[in-house]
Assembly symmetry: C2
Homo-oligomer: 143 residues x 2
Amino acid sequence: MEQRLSLVSLGVADVAAATAFYERLGWQRSQANSNEHITFFQLGGIILGLYGGQALADDIGIDYSDRLGFNGVTLAFNARSKDEVDAVLAEAKAAGANIVKAAEDVFWGGYSGYFADPDGHHWEVAWNPFFPISDDGAITLPE
Amino acid sequence: MEQRLSLVSLGVADVAAATAFYERLGWQRSQANSNEHITFFQLGGIILGLYGGQALADDIGIDYSDRLGFNGVTLAFNARSKDEVDAVLAEAKAAGANIVKAAEDVFWGGYSGYFADPDGHHWEVAWNPFFPISDDGAITLPE
């Protein structure tokens, strides 16, 4: 198995509502590939999908129950500065996100906060001076 | 908020055990950045982290309960052929994964199956003839 990831799919209660949230963050969905059942966003070299939680569970063939609390996965957006962390969290709040943890200096030397999207998926917004981000947004672990 | 994703973090019961699973798939962790508390894998332009589920919840400041069933998120590995899908699922099973859904032809024109890693995180292994994969592993939504 090559060492790579192709898609992250988030189970959501309402695809249109979830899509509208990410569009309020300024993201553009793929018009050619999205429809009423699924939305795709190109994120660099991978793809984010928004798909009904029940449909996603059905696709796997497992039970779906509305999730309560923490689902054991976080996605992270690494910003280029502390100021950008604050700006992104403010933008997310304005778009309808729940600010779960205000940004603060953290033990590993960065600055980080969390928001939950309307379906409860957790995004960390972090400034990490040790993990370089290229102009095209790719992030690279230091040698 | 730029349209990109930096890290995916998976909450796991035992970082060493979870790391060993992904290493059995042939992946190499970042020696320089991993330690007993966290493991990082470089996946193209993003990073996958394995971190204790309780520690991940503590980092956010929310409750953690052992997850049962489906957590509402799937990760996908897109293969370059149907044969590669079968090979990757076999490799995952040999590494200790649970094959949740055997690969089969699916309604959208591809071929797909699912495995769950030892912590219950679901990976789809799919051949999708409509989403091109470059030599470096990046996947691109068609125009």
